[in-house]
Every structure is written in C-alpha cells, then in structure tokens.
Symmetry: C2
Subunit: 345 residues, 2 copies
DNA sequence: CGGGCGGCCACAAACGTTTGCGGTGATGCG
DNA sequence: CGCATCACCGCAAACGTTTGTGGCCGCCCG
C-alpha cells in the first residue's frame, strides 16, 4: 500500500516535470532552474519525505558511490581502526564502504569479488593482498580503481598505503640491541605476503647494520599472522636449541603466541626472554606483561587509503603512489636487558 | 572503451532474446527454457564473463539483497564477532551486509539511516538502540524488517537477540557471594539502554535473592560503556567512601576502567577488590589480571540476528520473537575471596 | 519594430534488468 | 484431418533516475 515516494511524486506535487525536479534536487544542476521553483520542489520533497533511489541513480550515472573492502578477518584487532579510518573518510566524501571477510580463503575471496563486481563498486581496497595475486594483475590491466592497505604487492604501480615496515623493524632491533641483546631471534610472517617478506629482510639488514650476525637457526617462519602460528613457530624455535635472549615477532598476535608457550614452558617475559611485537593493536598495553611493540597509525592508514581510492575513482589513470607512514616504538613491559642465560640454549 | 558486458550481449551471443537469457540465467525460471538453449546461454555468459548488474536487478525486483547494520563503534571488540556472525549467515543466504558506525551520535545515526533508506536495504539490524528511540516506533509502524541485537527496546514486539543478561548477572553475583563477598558494588551502564537497565535491575534482585542488602552508595551509573566512563565511575565510587570488596561492572570495558584507577590508587586486583566484567570480549583473558567475566555467545548472537532479519524480510508481518541466549561464567584472575579490608572504607 | 538571445522548462531516451502476455510450431488426440 | 494442447520463445513495458535536445516566451538591442 505504502509505495515509497518517487521523483515523479515530488514533481507532481511541485507541479513540474520530473526532469525539473531532478535538476532542482541536485546541487550541481540547481542553477539551471528558477529559484522559486527550486524552493517549491525542495518543499515538496521534504513534505513527502523523498529519498532518491540510489539504485536508479547508480544505474543511470554508472557510479554507485560505494567502495568495497576485503579484509582477512575483522576479528583481528588490527583492522577495525583501519576500517574506521576508511569509512569516516569515505562518508565525508558521500560514499559508502562495503566490508567483507575472506578468512584467507581464496574461494571466499573470489566469491566476494564477484559480489563486489555485481554491485558495481566504484573502487576496491584490499587488505588481503598476497604478493602475487592473479586478480591484482587483472585489476591493474582493467585500470580498475584499487588500493592495497597494510600490504603491498610485487606487481608494481599498484597504489598502496601501509606503515613503513623497514624503519619500524629498525626501531625494534635497535631497541633490543640498546638493551644489550645480541642473540636475537625472529618469528617471521609468511613470505607470501609483503609484510612478512619485508619485515624479514629488514630484520636481516638491520642486524647487520648493528654488526650482529643472525643465526639462521634463529629465524622461523609462521604460516599466518595469528596466535596459533606464533605459538607453533616459537615452539619450533625452542626445539632448535640455539640460544637467544630476545625475539622480534612479525606481529602482535604472533607475540601473543610467544606469551602462551613461554607460560607453558615456564619462561618469564621479559626476564628470560624479551619479546617485541608489531602493529600495537588495541589492548596490547593491557597484556601481561604489556607488550613492547611498534605502533603504526592504523586510523590514518585507513584515511589515506580512502583518499587514494577516491582519487583513483575521480581521476582514473593518475599516477599511483605508495604511501609509507612512519611508525613509532612503544616501549612497554615485555622487553628488558638480558638478565639470565636466555632461552633455547 | 571496455563497456561492461550486459545481458543483451550474452543474449546476442547465444542468439536468443534477452528475456530468454534472463530466464536461463535464473535458477528459478530456468525450467521455462529448453535445456540446450540454457547451456548455450550459460556458455555465452561464462565466455563473456557476464556479471548481472545488481542495481538493475534491485531496481526491477525491488529487493537489494542488502541489509544494513548500525553499530556504535566497530573498534569496541564486542562487535566484530557479532558482525562476523551476521555477515556469514547473510552471505550464506545470498545477501550482503552494510555496516556503519554511529559513535552514539544521533546526528550521525540519522544520516546513516538516510543512506540505508536511499540504498533500499531490505532490512536493518541495530546494535545501537536506545530504549526509547524515535525511529524504532516509525520502523515498527512501517513494518520495516528490523532486528535489535545485543539490546532491546521499550517498544514491544520488536524482534531482538541478545544474551540473557538476567541470568548472566545472576552468575556474576552468585560467583562473588560464593567467594564470600557481601559488600558488592555495581558500576552500572546507562539507564537509557536496555543492557544498562536490566543488568542494574538484575543486580538488585539477585543481591536480594542472596539475602544481601545493597547500599545505594555502592551503585554508580556510567555514561557510556567504555573505559573512561568506567574509570570515572570507579573514582566516584571510591570517593563515596563506603566500604566494598567487589564490584560487578556493567561491561568488560568498564571493568578495564576499574583496572586503571585501581592501579593509580594502589589497589590490588583481586586482593584488595575483586572485579567482574561482562561480555568476555576478545583478549579479556590476556588482561592483567585475566578478567573474570560473563561470556555471551557473540558470534551466535550475530547468526541468529541475521536469521531473524531474513525471516522478517521473507515473511513480513510474522510474529516477532525476542531471543535470549544463555551466557556462561568465565572465572579468571580478577576475582578472589575478600582478603583485606577492601576498598572505599 | 524585428531578430536574436537567454532563462526556464518539458519531452523522451536511456541505464540493465525482470516478467506478463501473446505467438508460433509441433505434437497428441478424437 | 482438424483442433486443442503444450513447450518454447520473443515483445514490450516497467522499475526510478539523469540528461541531451528543443521549444516557448520575454527581453534587450540595433
């Protein structure tokens, strides 16, 4: 019974043609219609509670004012602040964000991208990019507005915004060597994603910079950036029985994994082993002990990513930039000078 | 140059009329067209990489396969698991979720609801409901598919799914009295939202059930369910100088606020004062000390909410149910028998 | 006084689908 | 052999907008 009110309705009530009503309603074309007519139309629209049908508009102008975002798992506390940044910036520009979780599942990802395509999102923000990603090439080829967030890809010329992992890792190892650590282990992230790779490489070069040699026995790769993988990797590290007094984890979650097995093996953090995380996720300061970590500006990363995608939508083919936002060291309770013999020996 | 391929394109390639192609593509109407024609159309669609335009479809059938969700703040760790539950269930049904944050800002909320209306979402899930909410009445009047999550409203007959706060609070106070506490304080949530109200009321009745009187001095209301408000409330409580040995917080975040001022006042948890939270947000077990709290099934709450809204969309006017999912007590390190004189005295 | 110009508006096509309706050819049956 | 039936498909309208085109009228200016 209660059909939603349409442009024709307000046009009728204002005694004008729908096209005139349309122009009157649109900021951009309002100048084309007589001022008094404009007020008449506006009044009619207001009285009828008119809400333009975004589908019809999108269909006509070929622009949905929607951007899609793929995230591995919203439950990972790293992402909500980023999403907030994106969303806030997007709504300021009149667009809407459509988030979806992939759970690192390629099949799911395909399905989600399919949905995004059907919905004709204006652009895409990926927090899920593997370094080599079939879709990435395709997107680049189609000149589809896309930006990578928190990760980068091997395919060059793809816009991205992330923290500067190289300097971040530099801060981490510098902090540890200043505390007096020399045998420093690394629980690296998967080499299939950029963060895993560059943090690993940066770890190596920074160690060298400080004149330290890194025992290959002291770096182990995690499958994923989560607690389970972190725990598994730390167990592996301990079983190698090479001595170390500190570990830089690829990630706060990986660091939490260390907390777990440290507890189960009776190792004290930071007395027996210092651990330093990465990202400074929410509540990292509430862990026991509070986690020393490298903070990246999550929210602003989101904001900048949104701006990049908006720019790419507005001006297709503009040069693609790769932003690296500066990180900060957050020294807390999980690092200390090497006091005992350490672990693993 | 690269116009997206349309239904006409696949129809042409399959040498049929667009209407036939449409029927062939649609599971529901496929039976109406000859089997060999179907395969021809399907092949054409596949070869052309055809993706139906969801806007055109939505415009035609008046159904967007989208449901909107309003959440106070995604950054609150309570919500991501709920969102995941909703999203998973929705995508299983072929729909998509559109989340937006309100920051408890009425103006923002209005704007977001406006966007949702323009986009013609099929239904709405609100995690932001105040007990009395102007829009709620309107939605109910319009018989618009809507479900409240994690909260309820005073306007009856509005479907909702949440944890059973009454039994949850019962578990909390029971736990404390079993530990031997008698002077138990309550940091209540805002009376403007259902969770604040019923947890408060439940606290009172359960205390009475256990034969305990509650000193009015020992309950203070928080403005919001967050750390700052929790801290402020706890300070207020301490300044009243009425003795107590335990506090049940309206919320894990409020409990964290207690952690903060306890630290700043030199009070030990749980030795000087036990604190128990509510919700069991992610990482509550990693706090120092690990937080004793009442767990609600976040993910399943989300799933059920999604099912309710799907049902409401499918069968408008069906009776609206209010689900209360059973909570569980999670005993951890923030509660203990009263050992010292307590606090506040 | 006439031609041109500009302000204002209506007309209609188009965006990409879905769907009721009708038509055609083949088949079955009386 | 003729008529009804049926399977299959095309036609066209419609969903709610936006926008190019053109028309009308009043005005200015030569």
């Amino acid at each position: 019974m209660n059909r939603t009110t349409t442009l024709r309705d307000v046009a009728n009530r204002a005694d004008v043609h729908p096209s005139t009503a349309s122009r009157a309603l649109n900021e951009r074309t309002r100048a084309l219609v007589n001022a008094t007519t404009v007020t008449r139309v506006l009044a009619a629209a207001d009285e009828l509670g008119y809400r333009p049908n975004a589908l019809a508009q999108g269909l006509k102008v070929n622009r949905t004012m929607t951007v899609g975002m793929l995230v591995p798992d919203l439950t990972n506390p790293l992402f909500p602040p980023i999403v907030r940044g994106i969303e806030d910036r997007l709504t300021a520009a009149g667009s809407t964000l459509l988030v979806a979780n992939t759970d690192n599942d390629g099949e799911k990802e395909r399905a989600i991208l399919d949905v995004m395509a059907r919905r004709r999102v204006d652009g895409l923000i990926l927090a899920t990019a593997q370094r080599e990603h079939p879709i990435l090439e395709e997107m680049l080829r189609l000149r589809y507005p896309i930006v990578l967030v928190n990760r980068t890809a091997d395919v060059p010329a793809l816009p991205s915004v992330a923290g500067d992992d190289h300097v971040g890792i530099g801060m981490a190892v510098r902090h540890l060597v200043e505390l007096g650590h020399t045998r420093i282990a690394h629980l690296a992230g998967s080499r299939a994603v950029s963060t895993g790779l560059v943090r690993h490489q940066s770890f190596l070069t920074w160690m060298e910079t400080h004149g330290l040699t890194v025992d290959p026995e002291l770096v182990v790769f995690c499958n994923w950036f989560n607690q389970q993988s972190g725990a598994a990797a730390f167990r592996e590290l301990l079983e190698r029985e090479a001595p170390f007094t500190a570990v830089v984890a690829a990630n706060d979650l990986v660091a939490l994994g260390c907390y777990d097995v440290a507890a189960e093996r009776g190792l004290a953090i930071p007395d027996d082993v210092s651990v330093i995380g990465y990202n400074d996720i929410p509540f990292a300061d509430r862990f026991a002990p509070p986690l020393t970590t490298v903070r990246i500006p999550h929210y602003e990363i989101g904001v900048r990513a949104a701006e990049l995608v908006l720019e790419a939508i507005e001006h297709p083919g503009s040069p693609s930039v790769g932003l690296r936002l500066p990180p900060e060291l957050r020294v807390r309770g999980s690092t200390a000078p090497p006091r005992s013999a350490g672990a693993g020996g």
